[in-house]
Amino acid sequence: MARPWESAPGVPFYRDPKYRGIALQIGLCAALAYLAYAAIQTAADNLARSHVASGFGFWNVIAGFDISQTLIDYSPQTSTYGRAFWVGLLNTLVVAALGIALATILGFAIGIGRLSKNFLVERLATCYVELIRDVPLLLQLLFWYNAVLKALPEFAASFTLPGGVLLNNRGLFLPRPSFADSSYFLAMLAVALVFAVVFNKMATRSKSIWGATGVRAAFTLLIVVGLPVAIVIVSGAPLAFDYPQVGRFNVRGGLEVLPEFVALVLGLVIYTAAFIAEVVRAGLMSVSRGQTEAAQALGLTRMQTLGLIVIPQAMRVIIPPLTNQYLNLTKNSSLAVAIGYPDLVQVFAGTVANQTNQPVEIIALTMLVYLSFSLITSLVMNFYNARYALVER
């Protein structure tokens, strides 16, 4: 804000805001520099006295501890701390990706439900949001893990869910698809991709409901996932499922999902969906009523109004806070440490930091990872805003 008396003639330099500002900044920088210098000096003294190694030399040292969920090859005898870092990072990313996908679906459903004219739907959605938002996530995670998943029956008395899924206190056991001939499946996938691209090209120009971004995205997903699956199921042969079986000492076969993973995803999805619902509600409410009325006056059906008129305009308001919620979910996945899911914080900032006794480097690196997530997201958001921001003429 320009100040009228700035550098006016006759003002002595020590009363001139310009020189005062410069002096203030120099003072502040000097004070901070001194503080940083003193802190680093003290830290160096303290570290030297306690004979703690510094630097990242531990990166290539054999880790020697086991991790309960590894997406890449890892063994306690041969893998290094660096490898453990990647294992933890991948586990964090898996939880975040699955959590984001499910929380978006649930959050949109509840957000649209809050604006429903149906009294019960609106009440139920409101109660969900109020209840979930006002209870700490950590408490919810502990509840799902200790009071729900750990209280499930032993493996011998597993719940059998539809589709051959088993659920017991050792986790969730899914049928594992196994392909006799994977090239066949890949070919199917390629066909589906081509089909999806062609569909998108045609649908973009369409003025019907198929032209709506949301409908298009959902249908594209359906083609890419559904088509290969449908063909494989119809033609039968090359796809077989390895179903989990209750054995004498444990569950054999199938795809094992840790109870910690289930609890973490469940907790994160339920918690974040409440916040996403509020974002969606605010976005839908930001589209003026006149838009809906005009669409109806033109004879568009309710679905067309929502899909072609309201949601595309609401997305402009929804996307920035929505990405913020995605980031929050990713950061909140660090609470995994409370229930023992081996994410980045539990494996790296927990076990590795304890074993190497070099918490400073390790916590700094962990922070750097989360910081880079949010920096990348901000960059993408800036790009998005530049492209889709409302152009006012």
Partner: protein
């Protein structure tokens, strides 16, 4: 101009969404008032909505009665150990074990604070409640003194009362003994008291036209907001003792408090900045035209207005802070949630329903606190918007 332009629809180029025939007349409604009309309008307006209504009613029938049975009908209200809450032949179904909460209540509230000194904790709660009401009740007299009391007197007095001060005869109680709901309130209160002033300074710094100020504030805010609270707490508890000389080495609780205060001020700064941005430029210009200095302008013109419109958001960030206090659990502080965790693992009360009871009780306490704050924020918002409407 006789030739129709491209934009004008003619008979030869019909538009898909324009009606070609008049819409059919709608028959008059059977009823517009009364129970039946309400049911038709809000529960069964069309097929899909009716299906949803029926599904939700089924869901409620399936979940609500068992929940009430568990919480109230089958619940155990009295007892001194686990036997009270175990299923027996004459009582095969056991609901919530409230006797366990009643038995552990003092531990959950005071932690391991010496029994003889519990009145000091009560006194702290009373002083805090007094200050809170003074500030939140908008018609209360002399709220400026209330603010001084809350932000300056209360922190010092609370420290003296809780920690102890030998000259006035209060024995020192080590922070390692503090625990339970007391610590949750202490952490939340320190976060609340510290985050607003630091947040205002950071927000002003970020909007300052001095480049070094702006850069430093922005770096701090974006750094803290980009990392999870748990890593900030780890950093505070591990690195703080490294960076200060031995004789200053802060105790565990202080380290956690520093972490929480830094974290919440970064979020508060963004909330305050939004409020500052909502101030029209004319307010600054008018103030400068009157000859007010930068600080006078802020103190007398900008901040009172900006903070007023931001009150709902400030309260919302306090709600987030209150929920985040549970994370001090990870750096070995004995907060409310930790006392629940310890109590439910106590063999004296080990039953199949103990964990669930403990978590439901904790959820209830957090819900009541946060819901009260959010109602207050909504109330203020409504009040402010009425003032704006005129």
């Amino acid at each position: 101009m006789d030739a129709p332009t491209a934009a004008t629809p003619t008979k030869s180029t019909p538009l898909a969404y324009v009606r070609t025939a008049p819409a059919a007349a709608v028959s008059p409604p059977l009823a517009t008032v009364g129970v039946l009309a309400w049911l038709r309008e809000y529960l069964f307006p069309n097929v899909s909505s009716s299906v949803m209504t029926v599904l939700i009613i089924l869901l409620l029938i399936w979940t609500v009665p068992p929940l009430i049975d568990f919480l109230i009908v089958d619940a155990v209200w009295t007892g001194s150990d686990r036997d009270a809450c175990l299923a027996t032949a004459e009582r095969p179904v056991v609901g919530a074990c409230w006797a366990f909460i009643a038995d552990r209540f003092a531990f959950i509230v005071y932690g391991s604070y010496p029994i003889a000194g519990r009145w000091r904790v009560d006194l702290f709660f009373a002083m805090l409640a007094f200050g809170t009401v003074w500030l939140l009740w908008l018609e209360a007299p002399r709220r400026d003194i209330g603010a001084i009391y809350f932000f300056a007197v209360l922190p010092v007095a609370s420290f003296l009362v809780l920690h102890g001060f030998a000259p006035v005869g209060l024995a020192v109680v080590d922070t390692a003994l503090w625990g339970g709901f007391t610590v949750t309130i202490v952490v939340a209160a320190v976060g609340i008291v510290a985050s607003l002033p630091i947040g205002i300074v950071l927000a002003l710094g970020r909007r300052s036209k001095l480049p070094a100020m702006r850069l430093l504030s922005t770096l701090f805010i974006e750094f803290i907001r980009g990392v999870p609270l748990i890593t900030v707490l780890f950093m505070a508890s591990v690195m703080l003792p490294l960076f200060v000389p031995d004789y200053w080495s802060p105790d565990k609780l202080v380290r956690a408090l520093v972490g929480v205060a830094l974290f919440s001020s970064a979020y508060m700064a963004e909330v305050v900045r939004a409020g500052l941005q909502a101030m029209p430029k004319g307010q600054y210009e008018a103030a400068y035209a009157l000859g007010l200095s930068y600080w006078q302008t802020l103190r007398l013109i900008i901040l009172p207005q900006a903070l007023k419109v931001t009150i709902p958001n400030i309260v919302n960030s306090y709600i987030a802070l209150f929920k985040d206090t549970t994370l001090v659990f990870f750096v070995g502080i004995f907060d409310f949630l930790k006392t629940i965790e310890v109590s439910r693992a106590d063999p004296q009360w080990a039953t199949p329903v103990t964990s669930t009871t403990g978590y439901i009780f904790a959820a209830l306490v957090y819900f009541v606190c946060c819901y009260a704050m959010s109602r207050y924020a909504t109330g203020i918002e409504t009040r402010l918007s009425t003032g704006e409407k005129q």
